[in-house]
Symmetry: C2
């Protein structure tokens, strides 16, 4: 609509050369106070804003770091994004986020888009795209992955120890006297889903508790799947006094199934989640779960990228999440409400 004003216009209006304007814009060199003031006045008067595209083109850096997330509507990744934004804040870099929807093809397109936008670095949040594609990108620019492993880039991944997380849950439950513990896992095409299920199985054995395959159901990390899986479990008639869910969302769904059957939490059945979504504090009763400091992980990723950009070689390592005991877990009832659930 209205013609956008350029650095050149500012220069002419102020009676100086474009270079001078550029210099005072970037503080590249000293300029006589009077010229500086004159130029700044013009900039203000004309409401001039430098064209980032042109700047990027001229000095080879876009000052933007690409973020490949999966779903913008996800509370989990949303918090990580907020952390990344915070972590980048204060630096000259800005995040550029695109989403892949857990679909390899879309993730690839998203990556392509970021590359065409010439982002200076990349942060990958989860995803199912192959390691090869990420390695290829990592060869061209700093890359940090959050919540997923990328073979060949071990110290570029901020990971959480899922196995240890679930283990804390099982220990807690076992300590409360639970012996028959059911499990609702996530789709094992995702790495963490297999780690968590494995952690469940291993911890059970470690505690000397029976591992009962019929007490494990597989969902897809969504609320509905948790609701469905819990219903199946209850319908099976198999006795159990605790229900471990591989993430909070499925625990929310399971909570509803229990409610529908008139089962009390934790009096009849103890329920646990994983992730510690914000909402987990507000379920009734508040959910015992495993806390992942997602915001902090996002900040960490951002800071790491910044350091890589600065030429340092930071090494990331695995992070142990913490059990948060709230009110959805309690002592095992003396006689499990077997079959009759």
């Amino acid at each position: 609509m209205s013609a956008t004003v350029t650095l050149m216009h500012v220069a002419q209006e102020a009676g100086v050369s474009p270079s001078t304007v550029s210099r005072i814009l970037n503080g590249t060199a000293n300029v006589t106070p009077d010229k500086r003031e004159r130029v700044e006045a013009v900039i203000h008067r004309l409401n001039f804003t430098p064209n980032v595209q042109a700047q990027a083109l001229a000095n080879g850096r876009s000052f933007s770091v690409g973020v490949l997330t999966q779903k913008l509507s996800s509370a989990f990744y949303g918090e990580t994004l907020a952390g990344i934004e915070q972590g980048l804040d204060g630096s000259p870099y800005h995040p550029l986020v695109v989403s892949g929807h857990w679909r390899a093809k879309q993730e690839q397109q998203a990556l392509d888009l970021l590359i065409r936008r010439r982002v200076d670095a990349l942060i990958v949040l989860g995803g199912v795209i192959g390691d090869a594609a990420l390695q290829r990108v990592a060869a061209q620019m700093p890359l940090v992955a959050v919540g997923r492993e990328v073979s060949g880039l071990p110290e570029r991944c901020v990971l959480i120890d899922n196995h240890a997380g679930i283990r804390q849950v099982v220990l807690h439950l076992a300590g409360l006297g639970h012996r028959d513990i059911a499990y609702i896992g996530g789709d094992e095409c995702q790495q963490d889903a297999v780690e968590r299920r494995q952690g469940f199985e291993d911890s059970l054995r470690e505690m000397g508790l029976p591992f009962q395959p019929r007490l494990v159901m597989i969902g897809d990390y969504t609320e509905v799947s948790g609701e469905w899986a819990a219903a199946e479990l209850l319908a099976s008639g198999l006795p159990f006094t605790a229900l471990v869910c591989a993430n909070d969302q499925m625990a929310f769904g399971a909570r509803l199934s229990l409610y529908r059957r008139g089962l009390r939490v934790p009096e009849d059945i103890s329920l646990t989640g994983f992730d510690d979504l914000f909402n987990s504090r507000y379920t009734t009763p508040p959910l015992t779960t495993v806390h992942q400091a997602v915001n902090e992980l996002g900040q960490l990723a951002a800071e790491t990228v910044l350091r890589l950009l600065a030429g340092e070689q930071p090494h990331l390592s695995s992070y142990v999440p913490q059990l948060v005991i709230r009110e959805s877990t309690g002592p095992a009832p003396l006689s499990p409400t077997a079959g009759g659930h």
Copy 2:
């Protein structure tokens, strides 16, 4: 790291002029099949990807639409963002999102950033920045606001009728026999908070029910504030059988307060929210609330921006949200558990 390959490299390698490469890249003109194939082969072999910054600079359009949101971690706006992304999908435009955190200053900075990035259009999600700033932007490029009114740009705002939304809630409750209805509102620095509270008051009168100022509390749209406000209400000893919250998040908090006091929902107290966040289906019991089709509103905003960009002059209007009756509301108990709450 590795030198990025440019269109020029491709041209030389294929033995054609840069223009030719550009042409087959954009389909701007016909090119002999053999040259085309030759070039495409080189592009593929060199793994060439056009530099969007340069393209933007050359043809004056960045093909990106800026989105000013408030919090990336918000479930509410997250869904809208997803809708925008969907709405833009298929078009050559991509979203560029930055957040303002409900702080005028940060929102202004975010706007500046988007302008410096020379976005072709702008979508604003809520926010507290002054209308003047938005009008200024609107003078330079297509702008659409979601969930907030911008004076002077009436048909560029996709709004929901908050008054009508709350009215449905009150009608529903009145129909169930509730007479003493408490209310938890949002901070009235936000437009919708005042509309909702006003709607509550008006509807009460319309139904011939008493408006009791002492039964209205003001929170800030967060869970904690809802929890606190509900606790205050209960501690006051004033009798009421229904609790209307100005948004779902505060209803979640209130739910917890009720749970802590051992009050049943809906047997002792009916509870309602507003927004219909995804989680509202999974509270116990599932929450009766007012559904805002946030995803669809996002899509609508995106489509509108696209049409504006195409030179059309679409007119937006106000949207009436729908009451979703779930299980947190029921008949008013015969004798309100007065004072004794």
